[in-house]
C-alpha cells in the first residue's frame, strides 16, 4: 500500500464545522484518484491510497504531479507526502524539509525508515508525557526511538506507543475509515449555448440520468423522488419534481417521466444548465420477469403507468376506490391512492385489511353511477322500487333524512332518486347503469 497524505493548513484556520465540510468535499474530489479516501477528524489531513491506482495514472510521480497541479488550481496551500503507511505519511507532512519539497518519496519500508531516522522526536504524534519521557531518556531522533527493543517500549511507555511506532514503520496494518459516496446526489450540466426547446434538453438529460443511474447502482439503492432543476439566465430556476410510485433506478424510466413532465412545462426562458438532485434513497425493488423473460411483474408495469399518468396529467389524475362505513350514500366511499393492492390471491377467509372492501350481502342494492352532487329534479313519474329510508349523520351536522326509490325516466333509464324529508324536494343521486 502506498499512502499519500495531504496536509491543508489553510483549512485549519476555518471553523471546525466548515473544515469538516471542506474536507468532505475534497474527499469527493480525491475520489477520482483513489477508491480509498480518508480524512482526519482532528487535523486538516486527507489520505489517499495510491498503490492501487498508480498503474492507472502512469505511476506515482505522474499521479502526484496531477494531484498537486489540481490542488494549485483549487488555490489550496498544501504539503504532500508519500509513505507506505498513513501514519508515516501524516508525520512526514509535519516535517519542515518535506514542506520545502525536494525530499524523494518513501516508497518502501526501508526508504521510509531511512527518511524517518534523522527526524526530530517532536514530530511523533504521541502524548506530551510520553514525548517528555523519551526526551528525558536522552533520545532526540526518531531513529533512536525505533532502535529501542520493543519489549522495553511496551514496559516503559503507554500501551499505545508501541502500536503507534509499528504503524509508523508500516509493520502492522493501519486501517483508516474509508470515505463513502455522499448521502445525497447532485449533478449539474452546463450548456455552452442556451437551449430554447424542451426537446433539445432530452439529449443532455439522458446523459445526466445515465450518470444518476450509475451512482444509484454504485450505491445499490434506488430513488422514489428526485428533482430536476432548469437554470435560466437572469430568471429564477424552474424546478420539476419527479415522483415514482415505487423506488427505481432505471435511466430510461426516468427519462420517460421527465419527458412527460417537460411536455406539459412551458419554459419561461432559455435553459443554460440542468441539475439533477436526490436526497432520499430507498432499497431497490426486485425486478422479476415472467417465465418467458419479457414481462416485468404486472404490479411494476402498473406502477410505471401510474407514474406516467402522474407526470402528464397531475398527481390527482389517477385514483382508486374504497368503501367507507357511512349510511349516507355520498359518504359511503372515498378515493384512495392507487397501487396499494398487492397480490391477494386465495385470501378467501375475508379477514385482514382488505375485508372492508367487500360488500355486505345484506345491504340494499346500489347504482353503479353516482352524481357528484344530488341534483334537484321534478317528482318522478314512475317509481319501481322503494322506499328505503336513510336517516343518518345527525351527530356531525351533515344529517340526512331521505326516502330512496328506484325510478324510471322517460328515456327508459333507471335512476336512483330520493325524496328529502327535510325540504320535501326530489333529488337525483345515481344511475343504475
Amino acid at each position: 500500500m502506498l499512502w499519500l497524505c495531504i496536509r491543508l493548513p489553510q483549512l485549519a484556520r476555518e471553523a471546525l464545522a466548515d473544515e469538516r465540510t471542506a474536507l468532505e468535499r475534497l474527499a469527493g474530489w480525491a475520489y477520482q484518484w483513489s477508491s480509498l479516501v480518508s480524512y482526519a477528524s482532528s487535523e486538516p489531513l486527507l489520505w489517499l491510497e495510491l498503490g492501487a491506482s498508480c498503474a492507472l495514472f502512469d505511476g506515482h510521480a505522474a499521479l502526484l504531479a496531477r494531484i498537486e497541479s489540481e490542488l494549485a488550481q483549487l488555490e489550496l496551500s498544501h504539503v504532500c507526502a508519500l509513505a507506505p503507511s498513513p501514519t508515516a505519511a501524516a508525520l512526514l507532512t509535519r516535517d519542515a524539509a518535506q514542506r520545502a519539497g525536494g525530499q524523494p518519496p518513501a516508497l518502501t519500508k526501508a526508504q521510509l525508515r531511512a527518511q524517518l531516522e534523522p527526524l526530530s522526536l517532536g514530530l511523533l504524534d504521541l502524548p506530551p508525557a510520553t514525548l517528555a519521557a523519551l526526551a528525558a531518556s536522552g533520545l532526540r531522533r526518531i531513529g533512536e526511538v525505533l532502535a529501542l527493543p520493543a519489549d522495553a517500549i511496551a514496559r516503559r511507555f503507554e500501551p499505545g506507543t508501541l502500536l503507534y511506532l509499528r504503524r509508523l514503520c508500516a509493520e502492522i496494518s493501519d486501517p483508516r475509515p474509508a470515505w463513502r459516496l455522499p448521502a445525497t446526489y447532485r449533478a449539474r450540466c452546463e450548456f455552452g449555448v442556451e437551449v430554447r426547446t424542451s426537446t433539445a434538453l432530452l439529449f443532455p438529460l439522458q446523459r445526466l440520468l445515465l450518470e444518476f443511474q450509475g451512482y444509484l447502482r454504485a450505491r445499490d439503492c434506488a430513488v422514489q423522488r428526485f428533482a430536476l432543476e432548469l437554470e435560466h439566465y437572469r430568471h429564477p430556476v424552474s424546478r420539476v419534481r419527479i415522483g415514482l410510485s415505487a423506488p427505481g433506478r432505471d435511466a430510461a424510466q426516468f427519462l420517460t417521466l421527465v419527458r412527460e413532465r417537460l411536455h406539459s412545462l412551458a419554459l419561461p426562458a432559455p435553459v443554460s444548465a440542468l441539475r439533477v438532485s436526490a436526497h432520499e434513497f430507498a432499497a431497490p425493488g426486485i425486478v422479476q420477469t415472467d417465465l418467458f423473460g419479457n414481462d416485468a411483474q404486472p404490479l411494476q408495469q402498473l406502477q410505471r403507468l401510474i407514474d406516467r399518468l402522474h407526470a402528464r396529467l397531475g398527481e390527482e389524475s389517477i385514483q382508486a376506490l374504497a368503501l367507507e362505513a357511512d349510511y349516507r350514500p355520498e359518504r359511503g366511499w372515498r378515493f384512495t391512492a392507487p397501487g396499494r393492492a398487492t397480490s391477494s390471491r386465495g385470501g378467501g377467509g375475508g379477514g385482514g385489511e382488505g375485508s372492508s372492501d367487500v360488500a355486505n350481502p345484506s345491504d340494499p342494492p346500489r347504482p353503479c353511477w353516482l352524481l357528484r352532487q344530488p341534483m334537484r329534479i321534478e317528482a318522478p313519474r314512475e317509481l319501481l322500487r322503494g322506499p328505503e329510508r336513510i336517516e343518518s349523520g345527525w351527530w356531525d351536522g351533515g344529517d340526512v333524512s331521505r326516502d330512496y326509490y328506484l325510478a324510471r325516466t322517460g328515456e327508459g333509464a333507471r335512476v336512483w332518486v330520493f325524496h328529502d324529508r327535510c325540504d320535501g324536494a326530489w333529488y337525483l343521486q345515481g344511475l343504475w347503469a
Binding site: P298, L313, A320, G332, C368, A379, G386, D403, R414, G424
Partner: protein
Amino acid sequence: MVSEPPRIDPRALTLEQLSRLCHDGEWRRGLREAAPSGFAELDASLPGGGWPVGAVSELMPEAMGIGELGLLMPALSRLSRVERYIAWIAPPYLPYAPALAQAGLRLERVLIVHARSAQESLWATEQALRCPAFGAVLSWPLGIADKNVRRLQLAAEAGGSLGILYRPAEAVREHSPAALRLRLAPTRAGLTVEIHKCRGGRAGTRLQLPLPLHVDSDHIDALAVHPAAAARA
C-alpha cells in the same frame, strides 16, 4: 349464476405442452381469446364466446343508466379476481364503490383516471391499453376519430386487455375499426343488445338480456304517483 370460465393455469401444464406453447406464443393467444360476458345468449353470439380480448369494443347506449355497465359487470368482476386491473378513463359520473363491490369487483383493482381534455383521455386510454397489468380498460372519449380508434385497437392488441369505448348512440352511423360494436337500448326487464359489427362473427343479431335489479318491482308500480303528498301531510 355465472359459470366459471376454463382457465389455463401455467403451473398445471406438462413440459411438452409448455414447450409447444412457448414455441408459437399460443400461451398468450389462448389467454386473450375472449372474456366470457356472463350472459349465455351474448356469449353464444360472439366469436370465442365472450368479449374480445386484446381488442377494442364499442358500446353505444341510447342513454346513460340503462345497464351499460351492468352488461360488463360479470366480466369485470372476474377479471378483477384474476389479479388484473380495471381502468375507468374519464367516466361521466362517479363509479360508485358500494355498487361495484356488490357486483363482485375487487375495489383495489379498480383505477379511475380523470382527464381534463379529450386529448388527455385518449392518451390515458392508449397508455392503459398498452399496459398488460390491465384486464379491462373502460373509456368515455369525448368525440373520437376512427384513426384514433385504430390506434387504440393496436394498443389493445399490444397490451392484451379488454378495451371498451363508450360512445353516443349516434356513432353507430360512423365507420369504426373496432372489433365489436354493440348498440344498447333499454327494455322493461333489461337491455336490448344489437350487434352492429362483429369481427369474425355475424352482425345484425338482436338480443334481449335480463339485468339484475331491472326486474320491475311489484308494489311501487301501483303507486304510479309518488308519495310526496302523503309525506307532506
